[in-house]
């Protein structure tokens, strides 16, 4: 078990380095970061200005601009090559300094602390919705495989899988919020209950398509498991069908669902960009959209790293979960 942890930890660090280095390089090559800091001043030919006559008062303004540029270069280490800057940035991060936003000089750590909880609540609720819908749905479909309900489920799940997030969000918003007024249409943060309640629709928008794919996987695995000898044995022991389903068949049938659970976290974060936009949730998703558009690369990099970190950690937890699901994994 200890070796397992260490191997995973090494992997985590490797993934984080790879992702952040790629992100860092991409942001640097896509545009001159200096331009993002000082704007058009970055275009000034400061060497020419320095070389010009010191007495010329028409160059005073330009000289002070050049000083600003030089200062910015120094602050953001822009006079160093990209790999060095990357290492400096990583070093800062270890001290808890994620840099400051180019837009409003707000520390990135503060932005994340502000926006992350909203997104986390959204993602957790979305996974709760998807698993909460998919498990009973998959169980009933598998129990009555190829009957009317199961066939209907196939159609419904393909329907859910093929609706884009924004369309599903708008439909849910229209039906459950505007038409029947069950859920609020906009983000509320006055109270915890209000917050959770206002997150139901966004979570459903993110979670329902995922529930459809979980349901497909669970149904297929359950149908296979239900043909296993140990299920026959449980029936021969006289246990009732639903007890066999939940106590014997469900756990060994969860592998695919758990695997996709891990992988889908990435897709969900992607989906949250759209959903946060539709429902006006001030979360990480909205933040990264703005930051990318404005080339605010300390913010973008920090969020990319955060997402990568979350992804690797969740998949680490998923691996631990496998060994709970099947004790034979532990023996390996």
């Amino acid at each position: 078990m200890a070796r397992f942890f260490i191997r995973r930890l090494v992997l985590l660090v490797a993934v984080l380095f790879a992702v952040t280095f790629l992100g860092f390089s991409a942001m640097n090559f896509l545009g001159d970061p200096l331009f993002n800091v000082v704007g058009l001043m970055a275009e000034l030919d400061c060497e020419a200005i320095e070389a010009g006559s010191a007495e010329d008062p028409s160059l005073d303004r330009a000289r002070s601009d050049c000083e600003t540029v030089a200062e910015a270069r120094a602050t953001y280490h822009l006079d160093r090559p990209v790999p060095v800057r990357y290492l400096l940035w990583v070093g800062d991060m270890f001290t808890g300094d994620f840099g400051t936003s180019f837009q409003n000089d707000q520390p990135v750590a503060e932005i994340i602390r502000e926006k992350l909880p909203e997104t986390l609540i959204l993602l957790i609720m979305a996974q709760i919705v998807s698993l909460g819908v998919a498990i009973p749905w998959g169980v009933v479909a598998a129990y009555r495989a190829n009957r009317a309900f199961d066939r209907g489920s196939t159609v419904a799940s393909f329907g859910l899988l093929s609706i884009p997030n924004f369309a599903l969000g708008v439909v849910l918003l229209y039906l459950l919020s505007l038409r029947w007024q069950i859920f609020p249409s906009a983000y509320e943060s006055d109270s915890v209950v209000g917050l959770v309640f206002s997150m139901v629709l966004p979570a459903a928008t993110l979670g329902l398509p995922l529930a459809a794919s979980y349901q497909r996987l669970l149904r297929t695995d359950l149908i296979t498991t239900l043909q296993e000898d140990f299920v026959h044995m449980a029936r021969a022991k006289g246990l009732p069908p639903m007890r066999i389903m939940f106590r014997h068949a469900l756990r060994p049938s969860l592998f695919s669902v758990v695997t996709v659970f891990g992988v889908s976290t990435g897709a969900m974060i992607g989906g949250s960009l759209v959903v946060e936009q539709i429902f006006g949730i001030p979360g990480i998703g909205r933040e990264i959209v703005t930051a990318v558009v404005r080339d605010d690369f300390p913010v973008v990099l920090a969020i990319v790293m955060l997402v990568a970190c979350t992804f690797v950690i969740i998949n680490f937890v998923v691996d631990l979960f496998y060994s709970w699901l099947d004790p034979r994994v532990r023996a390996r």
Binding site: E228, D229, F230, H232, M233, A234, R235, A236, K237, G238, L239, P240, R243, R247, H248, R251, P252, L325, D326, P327, R328, A331
Partner: protein, 361 residues
């Protein structure tokens, strides 16, 4: 109303009458079981013997209501006066697992891989007998001890993959016995375990059966397994019982050529060294649209023209020595049929007889 116990005819514990099982498939309907009838009395062992595809396992699964929903079943199954198929359809609680239960062929797959073995045994006790968790686990330990499991206290906490095949099958047996069933169906209980363990397990089953006064249906492809353990033997072929009798009669004075062929195909301890076994020529028949003839005729050394003309009926009454053969071995008709075939060098069904076909009784 007072029943006179001494003169009342004994009522069988399990009575099966004219059982038919068919499976609709894309290629056609598989006639897996075609009119099986037998009685099993309290405390007795019935061995059902046959090759794979003979319908013996399907018969067992039908009794336990374990067939897939698509299976078409007809016939009567009566357990202690109750209609088993009706009980199953009504979802009656505490019948299967308490009155009758089953041990499966492969202990590698018949235990849930993700649950501790103690839990799997205790589960039955908790559900059927309402035991508390701790009481049930203690009883599970006792049961493991009763089936000869070494270190039962440690085993209850282990997972199936930590046990060998033989030990796992002991767990399965302990699980089946938990609620003291009156009828145990053992479907090839030793086929999947090491030869060295087979005899131990069979003797254990026999001993447990005797101690608990349990009735048992022992399903096997190996007549040798049935020998000395079964009170009655039913030989199945192509979904029918082709011969049934008490064990002694069947082994010594069999009538059906298939029974004879089965006996010849198993090695015996008193055979000379390097004695050639006689395999049964050909393969088991198709069960989709079988011909209206004796299903064994194409492989039978005794086959005559009338064998291809309709399915022979099982002779006699349930409970007696019955066989479904027109030219039974050990009778004049059988000897005549074998002699005629040997002279012709080929049976009516086209089976060539080469060299020594194995004497005809």
């Amino acid at each position: 109303m007072a029943p006179d116990q001494t003169t009342a005819a004994p009522v069988p514990l399990l009575s099966v009458r004219d059982l038919h099982v068919r499976f609709p498939t894309e290629r056609g309907t598989v006639n897996a079981v075609n009119g099986v009838s037998f009685d099993l009395y309290e405390g007795k062992t019935l061995a059902i013997v046959g090759e794979s595809g003979s319908g013996k396992s399907v018969t067992a699964k039908t009794l336990m209501n374990l067939l897939p929903r698509s299976a078409l079943v007809s016939g009567d199954v009566t357990y202690a006066g109750q209609d088993v198929r009706a009980l199953a359809a009504a979802g009656t609680k505490h019948f299967f697992g308490v009155q009758m239960t089953m041990v499966f062929q492969d202990p590698m797959t018949s235990l849930n891989p993700v649950k501790r073995v103690g839990e799997q045994i205790a589960e039955t006790l908790r559900y059927h007998l309402g035991r508390s968790r701790s009481a049930a686990l203690e009883e599970a330990e006792d049961l493991l001890d009763a089936v000869g499991m070494p270190e039962p206290a440690r085993r209850v906490m282990q997972y199936p993959h930590e046990l060998s095949g033989g030990l796992r099958q002991r767990v399965v047996i302990a699980m089946a016995l938990a609620c003291q069933p009156r009828l145990l169906i053992a479907d090839e209980p030793t086929t999947a375990v090491d030869v060295t363990v087979q005899k131990h397990l069979l003797d254990l089953l026999d001993e447990l059966r005797r101690d608990r006064g349990m009735a048992m249906i022992l399903i096997t492809h190996d007549l040798g397994v049935a020998h000395g353990r079964a009170d009655d033997v039913a030989v199945m072929y192509a979904g029918r019982i082709v011969e049934t009798a008490d064990a002694r009669t069947l082994f010594v004075d069999m009538r059906h050529p298939y029974t004879e062929a089965l006996l010849r195909s198993i090695p015996r301890i008193d055979d000379p060294v390097h004695h050639r076994l006689d395999p049964i020529p050909g393969r088991p028949p198709e069960l989709i649209s079988p011909p209206d003839a004796c299903a064994f005729a194409p492989r039978c050394l005794y086959a005559q023209a009338d064998c291809l003309d309709g399915v022979p009926e099982l002779s006699g009454l349930v409970g007696l020595h019955r066989f479904a053969c027109l030219h039974p071995t050990g009778t004049e008709r059988g000897v005549a049929a074998a002699t005629a075939n040997r002279a012709a060098g080929v049976t009516v069904a086209g089976l060539p007889l080469t060299g020594d076909p194995g004497g005809a009784g």
